[in-house]
Symmetry: D2
């Protein structure tokens, strides 16, 4: 950590900073310039210390980090890319994994029809929401427990892993019993109590990026999942909040190469929630794979017009088929396959 | 809701929209222009219907809302401003309410010293965090249950209401037993499961704005709290995420007159979390009251240098005293008092 | 345009809105609901009228647009995609056009070496800044007129078109004499005086997106370029300002499918300015082509370490060679070629 | 500047950084930690050097600034607050200066009526747009030269200084001949060619903040105005672009205390352009003065309903009168007067 003193800071003020650093077990090195003094705080654990600890001291102008605040999710901690096995499907390997299905499970028929169709077209995981966190209390909130049973039936009948969001601590047990991957939604990315409980499981967790979380905050939240032993964490970029209003969220395509450089965790992309409109989904999905994403999480509905939730962003089966056909050569172009 | 058809949309496509509206119990009025057809969907409940229901239909170019998606929090629903009584302190009345105390409770002495000091200087509610949601799992997470007991002691010894954050459903019962106001933190603003439980209580709930929530989303989240009978909802603006990097969050001062116009709920301001630095807190607090805020939630620590959490944004007692002196004439200038 | 009246708006207030609409030559249709009246303003030119004209009237709650504010840049106005010929290079056609070269021209040797190298590797346009708009007045501001001469030499020696930014009205004439494409920088996107002058030229203009411009504002700015007869307008997405801090700007990948749908203008992508770091450039470039961009504008420098401007975001020749090799299969995968 | 090397960076790479620093005339100090080496680059001019100069070198992980990139606008350079005299009106002194008038000059009568009214009510500067930069080429662009003459008449008849925007280099001479203060609009904040010319004048320049400019970029742009001798620079906060959609721009209230701390330049606030709606203007204006702003730039129109530009954000005369009455006690509360 680098502590910059004010111009004219006194020797006592500088000593105070040095003492504080020593009391925390850090070493310091002083750069006494003609205009101002700069104190470098050294030690392998400075990333875990708040910058405020020094910023609050008298005479200090600013404090900047050198070490990142996340550790377990960093590539420095774990130099090789993590590959995560989900009931036989490897995420982070050479295959680009397609997870597809309806936003919300609406009926056994709707789910089973979609699951069969997407499996046949090449998807290796089926998605379907059981509990739906909705902006308004007056909107459809999901079929809950009944949906979980339908997902389990898909899994046993079709032999394909399923993924369904866990929205609170109460939901962990039932969801973990029925699903193969447990996604944490964007609005829960910093629901630390939930993360802490999920960290005790062995299930793969898919951590969606908060809609205004920086990459650094996202990886620091991943540290919560990794902190108590769960090693199977997958990141999911789903768009960030910006001023642009032609899409629901702006997919942050640069986050993919950034994460590949600073973290060992696999990262997939959800083009459906980002775009908010099915017409933009194929372009974003293709871009994501070209940029290096390890998979795509995509909404497919047999009749988007009749969907209870997010029909506008769902592909129908023929459009999904076309997309799968289009994704194959893109994956090949980057040395992978779908 | 206004549905704009594509140029060249067919009569069948228009009829489809009309049928869908009728099936939902709405009336429609058609505007058949030379270039394009526009369908107005009419009815008092259109605000509760997703725009996607129509946007997904073939031939539709865009759908825009006329009715707001929130209802119970709106001034149209409840034209008079709500005043909320918290153990004798009225929020939303003529008095500007000052809630002050440490970010985190660190010890009984620290809490009691701060509480006595801020009460003497004019604060009418004492704040103090028991459970701290922290960005990194390696940071101090609060004293928990012990802190709750210390808050209860403050309340009984000093006769002043206390406020402490509830961070998950498990925490509702213990917090509700000890505290007078239950704040929902910014990162939980759309934790709908938590909101739904809190809606069943009679306690006043302070709903902090999510760091990237629009005013409309914030009020729609307030609808969750109001939906099951709790009428005592207070809003708290605490800064939004922008690109500006000299402060932690940019306090959205315009949200105050906007809320006063569109909602009946009282709104207070947290300048400490917004600024992230104590030096900017007094200006923002003064601005908030001048703009019409009903109160201020402010961090005060007897020794900010030694604070375990957020010391940088805490005022020490002499600075808090100075601020209280400065706030009085501002409150008077807008026809209120501190 | 849709004008929503307040609940309880009087008949006189509604009549006032209707009269105003008639006075502007529009037709109206009234939707008198049980709760509120909605006035639809109809006519093919409503897109050119400010919503404020109605929003300011008494009794009006809100006004929303149905027509877009841009016209000449819209696909409704010009349904077929525009292809723009630049000295024999077609932009918007089947070939994905690569424009490459140094951020700033530093010397004849630096420019000529880079130009030869990128041409040999497949670039069809050479870029090089002559006038550099810099954030600080103390930074290197470009070689100006001398750089223009060097660009002309590249053009005549190598027979390749060149592109160099025009930063003010004074610069139009000299730049137009030497360069084949005139880019307008992000910070000038709404420099309307400059756009108006450029609209009188026949040269192709590359309109970079303002760093906080919405797609709608960007296309409305393109209308300025098209308004006086210049038909050769190319759009360039170069990242938008968001809260994310691991890159300089967040490339808005969704803007590509959005523009392809709402506009007929070709759109290229500048991954170098967006990323701000060369290591992220290849991923973003690949994503852009996969998403449907018509070209890439990329910074290449023979010795990035010694660059006077933006060395960090420049690829060196071997990295550019690798990228060109990687882009070919991506272009093929989307039915195009590099 | 602090250069952090990668874990495992070689001695050659570190030496390369050191050599580069020496070649630029800087001193260095090495912090060789167990995990990584950190190089501190020291010297009073490091603020003027791009961080990229070091970031581009092999083995470098990141570079962070200690010195700010602006110099002339900083309070370290000029510790006392600047007061700027405009034809007898002091900006930055104890009086809070009110500048009021129509967004655009529409006729001599409209301007003169407004000017007389606002002067009588306490405004000390009259505003009125002659050249209007408009988002769409089809919107009213201002009366130009004729408006300048009307402004000059106001100035000579009423003895009050006038302020009108300069939108391009061509406009500097005519505007400088007629107006007392020359504002640079938000969209021109980084039009460096324009700033450079304005820096040669003696006229006070009002530099509006770019709609997505950080405070640091804004002050660095001010350095352009100060670089060639013009000392009379006034800053104007007018809202920044965020995701919030109930207002046109989000007024950044925190920027006022931040600027007061880091810069010596006076700062005023434009609540009209920020809010975009007259109903929110009074609250924001009051907040601005409470936060420490040196003045308010406000749009007033005798008949907002008939305004050609921005009528929605203009106060009519009775509302302006009410606001002036409300601002007086706020100014007093912060030890100033209107």
């Amino acid at each position: 950590m680098i502590v910059e003193m004010n111009t004219g800071a006194t020797k006592e003020q500088v000593d105070h900073v040095v003492d504080r650093a020593h009391s925390l077990g850090f070493e310091v090195q002083l750069n006494i310039g003609t205009e101002k003094t700069v104190v470098a705080i050294l030690g392998s654990d400075t990333g875990k210390t708040d910058t405020d600890v020094f910023a609050v001291l008298p005479g200090v102008q600013s404090v900047s980090r050198v070490m990142k605040p996340y550790k377990l999710a960093s590539r420095e901690f774990h130099p090789r890319a993590s590959k995560i096995n989900v009931s036989g499907v490897e995420i982070g390997g050479q295959r680009v994994v397609i997870m597809a299905g309806p936003c919300a499970v609406e009926s056994e028929k709707q789910l089973m029809d979609t699951a069969r169709a997407v499996q046949k077209l090449g998807a290796s995981v089926v998605r379907g929401g059981a509990f739906k966190p909705r902006t308004s209390p007056f909107s459809f909130q999901g079929l809950g427990q009944d949906a979980l049973k339908m997902l389990l039936k898909v899994k046993s009948d079709l032999g394909i892993p399923v993924i369904t969001e866990v929205i609170d601590i109460q939901g962990i047990e039932p969801v973990a019993k029925h699903a193969d991957i447990l996604p944490v939604g964007a609005r829960n990315m910093q629901n630390f109590a939930l993360l802490r409980e999920l960290s005790k499981l062995k299930h793969p967790i898919l951590l969606k990026r908060g809609l205004s979380a920086t990459v650094t905050e996202w990886l620091t939240a991943a540290d919560y999942l990794l902190a108590q032993g769960n090693r199977r964490v997958i990141l999911c970029e789903r768009g960030i909040r910006t001023f642009e209003d032609t899409v629901r969220f702006s997919l942050d395509i640069s986050s993919i190469p950034v994460i590949k450089q600073v973290s060992h965790l696999p990262v997939i992309v959800d083009p459906s929630h980002a775009a908010g409109h099915w017409a933009y989904v194929p372009s974003i999905a293709k871009a994501a794979i070209a940029a290096g994403a390890d998979g795509i999480l995509i909404e497919v509905h047999p009749k988007p017009e009749e969907a209870l939730v997010d029909g506008l962003q769902s592909l129908d089966i023929p459009n999904f088929e076309r997309l799968m056909k289009d994704l194959r050569p893109i994956a090949q172009a980057v040395g992978r396959y779908v």
